[in-house]
Symmetry: D2
Subunit: 141 residues, 4 copies
């Protein structure tokens, strides 16, 4: 089992309107980008839209380190990987690279994703099927 292989990435143009009054991309935009990488990863795990399912993932925690201020114009690449599997949750990490900064890391993040029953709001154990799917995605990198 090999996790943390960074198998999924998305490339996103920095939009001018994502900068705030300080002239840098606003801190909340980075979470949108992380989400885009996370959803791209989720599409491998749940090819059908998960919104109507009875059990699905929710974001329970996010940590983000801002390494570089970003500006328009730029293109960022955001990578995601699952770094560990728990009983009913897993850790997903992110790293964001800036083309305008020569590919340097502009932000790094770590999140906890919990599998819950949407009706009861209770967490549920990761199924063997989901564990295998995550490992298959990580092995594909």
């Amino acid at each position: 089992m090999a996790l943390a292989s960074w198998p999924v990435s998305v490339e996103l143009p920095v939009q001018w309107g994502e900068m705030d009054d300080f002239g840098h991309v606003n801190n909340a935009v980075f979470l949108r980008w992380f989400e885009s990488a996370r959803i791209a990863y989720f599409q491998h795990l749940w090819p059908e839209r998960p919104s109507g399912d009875e059990v699905g993932p929710i974001l329970a925690r996010m940590e983000i380190d801002y390494r570089l201020p970003l500006q328009y114009p730029d293109t960022v690449r955001c990578e995601a990987t699952v770094t560990s599997l728990g009983n009913s949750s897993f850790h997903m990490a992110y790293r964001l690279f800036s083309e305008a900064h020569g590919g340097a890391v502009a932000a790094e993040g770590d999140s906890v994703v919990v599998m819950i029953d949407y009706r009861s709001g209770k967490s549920v154990p990761l199924t063997q099927e989901l564990r295998a799917a995550i490992e298959a995605v990580e092995a594909d990198s």
Copy 2:
């Protein structure tokens, strides 16, 4: 002089988080996309960042027709063109194409951009230099 030649375009991935509770890209996101095309156009007119200039463009009016509901995943291409020049303002039009809809038009827009003196807030006439720059961009298409 040939305007309305659609010389500038930007390509943007639809992000999952841009959809709202109706399951479609939220209406306000389309204005962000139009803005990205407008700013790409402005970079031809004002290669330096215009934010510190004493005279610059402001958006005074926008009209938008929503033609198709959009969903993640998709990639949109937004084109911009100047369609007419006034005394102290010009019209810029937009059209947005959806890859997931086979390149169909998903939205169209028209805006009024006014040149103002940022200190006084008053409109100022388009300079000959600016008129020529717009015509050069339109001729380049």
Copy 3:
């Protein structure tokens, strides 16, 4: 029947992060505010969440005139009213007032809302029930 009586309003604080690199509230944020007034109006027409319904409203067109640049800190009040009823659509107008500008109008808008069958994507006629509900909201102002 009296329309255009501006019966619904919402009050919203300007958030610092809604300003862009020009130091003013970004143009797309105004559509978020108009939407908040529109949804507050819709709650009178459809007290239950309409997202699962088979027939419901979609935004087909928006026009907005930006009258004043806005900055943090400020509080805006956005009003909405239905101005005319068509066969399968209606017009909803918006006006936005800025407390920091002494209550002056900062933006005005007009939109076309179409009733559609979400499954077929086709427009459907306004029911008598909906017409009466709109008139009741407008009469309540």
Copy 4:
């Protein structure tokens, strides 16, 4: 010296358009709310807009725990407090309460704010003046 006294709070209506396709307020919106509380705090420290200053605060790190899924309609209150002072940085914590959930905590956060020289990008020590200003804000609660 008493820190962590939660002296600053802002109240914000949940907007319908802040919900995503899962029918909950999108995770990135919480950072916008935390920012609004942080900026309200900063206004006590720097009554003038800090954007043009040569030394100012930047957000270097954020941790957020999502406790409750939120939906429109709701009103949230976000509190901010400085919890510790370092050499050139300080920790600011956040907690977010949901009116629709009877005032329950919907999210908690912790951030690192670094004082930097905007021209050089280098961190600079907290001045005695800034330390005193933070303590005065915390003592005022």
